[in-house]
Amino acid sequence: MLAVDQGTTSTRSIVFDRSGRMVAVRQREHRQWFPRPGWVEHDPMEVWANTQRTAAQALNDVAAAAGEVVALGIANQRETTVVWEKATGRPVTRAIVWQDTRTADLVTGLTARPDAGIVAERSGMDIAGYFAGPRLRWVLDHVPRARERAERGELLFGTMETWLVWNLTGGPDGGVHVTDVTNASRTSLMDVRTCAWDPDLLDFFGVPAALLPEIRPSVGQLGMATALSPAIPITGALGDQQAALFGQACFAPGEAKCTYGTGSFLLQNTGTELVRTRSGSISTVAYQLAGEPVHYALEGSVAVAGALVQWLRDGLGLIGTAPEVETLARTVEDNGGCYVVPAFSGLLAPHWRGEARGMVAGLTSYVTKGHLARAVLEATGWQTRDVVQAMAADSGLPLPALRVDGGMTTNNLLMQFVADVLDVPVVRPMVGETVSLGAAYAAGLAVGLWADVEALRRNWHRSAQWSPVPERAAQLSAEYPTWERAVALSIAWGAPYP
């Protein structure tokens, strides 16, 4: 199986064997463009070149003969928007990345419209600049002649997996223009129940249907990657967080994973019924197998997790490397009454308060850098609890255990804190590359390499488990209102003066 993980900073091609073990990895970073404050762009041609190059290298590493690598799966950074010319394959502008905030004013205007309620009603998510739809609208409004050319059918839109599949399957020469349902669900343009583009949402966002890709299941035939040698059928595509859910084998309602990276992304499988949210989590498509109903998930994204540790390192210089935060935190027994709310650019799930700003609460002369390091780690745990509580309120599903991945999972102090603060076991899988693995699983399932999701479940093994300590869990439950108070203060701080 070949998996392509097209991420925010790099593109990776990984070959997995039938047992789900990695046998080759190639990676290449691409340039980040910051043309203005708040703008973040990638060059789609560079991303495509890196995909070809790393895929060829990884296939070469395993000396793959034709037919040995049976399928290709793609996982991609979500909501990043590409618009290109159908005839030439040339992008009309650089890709607008999911971190880009240029659509803020556009979104404010759209939200104020009397018919704005339709967006949450149909797409499952409130209007937000986080999603791809407003970015596409921005391109149509700002790139010269983009709208008229789009209406004439000369331009194509896609998120990264669409862009890569189109190029892999021939580009201008018969490339397949498709998107997977998980990526389509992140555009604000798709009806989350029918999983089809919604004409009213297209009207609302002012997007012509002509440039949209066809929506396909995440697991199923997408096209033949003739750009690779040997050619490989593309049979799986998922947004990266959904891919991680898939790679963590969270196939039953209630099962959840959290990826602890720069930010943290928690997804909980909610089964085939769409859950309407009221508590601050997002309803999204988890995955769909061809010919089967869509599986949904609740999602809670936290902007700052590992980024707070980086701030301790780069902003304050208290540690030399990120893992040393654990060493520093272990110099003390507790947080010393100190709480850090890392609302560097507002708070995402479940609060959705863009105005909130960071806060260090509870400072006394007793507090040392050790306490601060503890508070920094605990902030990630407390925020996980915020998200899990919101999801529990929305789905009513119990959380049997939390499956974790990402760089912060080597931090034992943090993982034990998460187990205690949630009062559920926290488990880490043997293959930490859950995003790529999920893409490989999706593609392999489609070609029958694995019989069903139960076979994938048997591939999943624990590499570590942190179990909650009952007394500590009770203590943290009692302490939770204090954290909530710190969050309220950080929101109040960002509010305009009366």
């Binding site: 073990r21 030399g320 490397t321 893992p323 060493t327 080597t410 034992n412 043997m430 624990r462 570590a464």
Partner: protein
Amino acid sequence: MPGTVQSIERAAAILQVVAGSGGTLGVTDIAAAVGLPKTTAHSLLRTLLAVGFVEQDREGRYALGAGLLRLGSNHLDVNELRSRASNWADALASRSGQAVRLAALVEDRVVVVHHVFRPDDSVQVLDVGTTLPADRTALGRVLAAFAPHRSTRGAQDVARAELPAVRSQGYAVECGGFEAATGGVAAPVRGSTGLVVAAMGIAGPVDEVCDRRGAARPRLVGMVTEAAHAVSRELGWRG
């Protein structure tokens, strides 16, 4: 002084001068103070910089380096070590089918700093932070053999007699020592300077790890030494 190495003497003199200055010194001042040509002083300083015994500020002036302060204390943060070793440890557990541990010397004790479960989904408990006997585990014996230390030097005479063999073969084996039913294989992990900073090994049922004559199975020995080597390279060792 017969039998001494001139460049070490000169380096020591430079360190004394820099330490004595109480602040920073330029290369010209240092060369003058120790009575060496500027080019000689400069090349000695470049080496001292590389091993972290001096540091250079933005103007290129020299001060004592953090590497000197860390002499005598644990020079690699164990949490940093875990983070860097994690992918290799997972892969070793996955390939060998056994539990994987990394151990390091922490204040004279052989302490587990990373633990990956045996991939069979049986009930297992993380034992990071626990102390292992230096003389009755493969991990402890690797550290005793490659990272001589007060506690490990005091290990039982019998075990000590085996340490040269551990050094020459590059790994240690334990077949039912610490726990009767458990066998283990471990190999040294080296930091960027070549010093052994940790031991990495597998442990599992003695009949899976060892043969009937009490020797480790070669396939597992190969996996362990390869994984330990990979972590060493990750830490910057180029040996």
